[in-house]
């Protein structure tokens, strides 16, 4: 294995030298770079309604789109979206494919060690979505011993697995490339529930009230959604500017209006990144 690793490194080194490219990218300040280019590249996944999704006319829509439109105005730049499957978004962020990630992602201890979050934009507490009229599932504990779906590489999945351990008989999980596939499988009856954050499943249940219903209360620890950036020093100025923009939107009521538009309610979120409970 070690030899193989060395070989690959050498091969890549050779390739890079051959192409005359610098090995270590020059650490130019990201905010300055974004402003001079006039473009902020944002990575996300478009299967996370109502934050990012493709609407019925095939357009990318959601809270994130509205928010980044405003953030773009604040920074004086255009937004360029890069959409990937969720399990590819964070690796691509680390690979420098875009300046930050919309997502949003649940603010967790593990992620905070590796990434920087913006201030919270919504609640992320995890709950269950079930088939409408499924009486066997009236409280979260009823999923014991059953098959529940969630998104691959998500904090929601991690919380579901954690919750499962506390249940007698545990819970069997199935990991989907995106939550859309999980919802489809719930509708098809292959799984009994989908674990996702309350704002997401509330939206889905409201959009398709014939098919889905939310199991109350939420089983997860209270948590928040934020946008994600790296901890690289050169990226901090950009994330500071985005934080400032979000705070401004929050204070002048734009954020509240957007939350009202997409969730039918507003969230009381803190002005700084809180200490995560998950």
């Amino acid at each position: 294995m070690a030899m193989n690793k060395r070989f690959l490194m050498k091969a890549m080194l050779g390739l890079s030298l051959a192409l005359g490219l610098p090995l270590a990218a020059h650490a130019e300040d990201t905010l300055a770079k974004v402003k001079s280019a006039g473009v902020l590249k944002v990575g996300t996944e478009t299967a996370f309604a109502p934050f990012d999704f493709i609407n019925e006319s095939g357009e990318h829509a959601g809270l994130n789109v509205d928010m980044f439109d405003e953030i773009g105005k604040e920074l004086g730049v255009k937004i360029e979206w890069v959409t990937l499957p969720w399990d590819g978004v964070l690796p691509a962020l680390e690979a420098g494919k875009f300046d930050m990630v919309a997502g949003p992602a649940t603010i967790t201890k593990a992620r905070l060690e590796r990434y920087r979050f913006t201030i919270p934009i919504a609640e992320a507490t995890v709950a269950l979505l079930k088939q409408a009229g499924d009486d066997s599932l009236s409280k979260p504990e009823d999923i014991a011993g059953k098959l529940v779906g969630s998104g691959k590489a998500t904090a929601q999945l991690a919380q579901l697995q954690e919750f499962g351990k506390s249940l007698k008989g545990g819970v069997e999980t199935r990991e989907y490339v995106s939550f859309n596939e999980a919802y489809a499988d719930l509708a098809a009856g292959r799984i009994v529930a989908v674990a996702n954050s309350l704002p997401n499943i509330a939206y889905v249940a409201q959009q398709q009230s014939d098919t889905f219903a939310v199991v109350k209360p939420a089983f997860g620890q209270p948590s928040y959604f934020g946008f994600i950036g790296t901890k690289k020093p050169e990226d901090q100025s950009l994330l500071d500017a985005v934080d400032a923009a979000i705070l401004k939107m929050k204070q002048d009521g734009r954020l509240g209006k957007m939350q009202e538009k997409w969730f039918g309610t507003t969230f009381d979120t803190p002005d700084t990144v809180p200490e995560p409970k998950v």
Partner: protein
């Protein structure tokens, strides 16, 4: 399905075709180089070519694409989504095309070259006038086949952020809750594309055969 959504599907199908076509052409170029290296008596050339072919035929395209998209930046080569997709598809098809070409070159009957030798053609003239045209005719069916395989393999490039036909169908299936409709339409569009390419290939083969006895 509204007209607007059908337009979106057509647009995505166009994207699939363009990216595949570019990849096939680039892949053919790389494939020729790799084939030449592989046929070279110099082991410093043939060994890397063998490794290249083995790697790109041995690793799923999905994994290749992610390696190109996410790991090349670690050595300072950052490529946007579309470029990563084209590079991945090109390298993958190059490995297969190199093998096809090698098969083609090897099946040119030796006697034809001996005959060319006897009438005094130089090795380069032999390659240009005898070997290459015959090898091309022999590999044409394989090339058409490869084009179809790449068209279909391009359904995977959404993992590096390119929205092509399959991804568009996936998006619209999710937003309209009509997977049956959108995947069927996507399948039908792929069929139209692939059958067109196959038909064109058959035509090209017939035309290439005109020169034959």
């Amino acid at each position: 399905m509204s007209l607007r959504l059908f337009e979106l599907m057509l647009w995505a199908a166009g994207y699939t075709v363009v990216i595949s076509a570019i990849s096939i052409v680039i892949g053919l170029g790389i494939g020729l180089l790799v084939c030449a290296a592989k046929l070279s008596p110099n082991r410093l050339l043939s060994l890397p070519a063998t490794l290249f072919i083995s790697f790109f035929r041995g690793v799923p395209l999905l994994v290749q694409l992610l390696l190109i998209y996410n790991l090349l930046p670690a050595v300072g080569i950052s490529v946007p989504s579309v470029v990563a997709a084209v590079v991945g598809l090109s390298l993958c098809t190059a490995a297969y095309q190199a093998e096809n070409l090698r098969g083609g070159f090897n099946s040119v009957p030796k006697g034809l070259l001996e005959a060319a030798d006897m009438v005094g053609l130089t090795p380069w003239q032999q390659l240009k006038r005898i070997r290459a045209p015959i090898a091309f005719r022999l590999t044409l069916p394989a090339l058409v086949n490869e084009a179809i395989l790449i068209l279909k393999a391009s359904s995977l490039i959404s993992v590096v952020g390119v929205i092509e036909l399959t991804r568009m169908a996936q998006n619209l299936a999710a937003s309209t809750y009509k997977p049956l409709l959108f995947y069927s339409v996507a399948g039908a569009l792929y069929l139209v594309i692939c059958w067109t390419v196959a038909g064109g290939g058959a035509l090209a083969e017939r035309m290439a055969r005109v020169g034959r006895a």
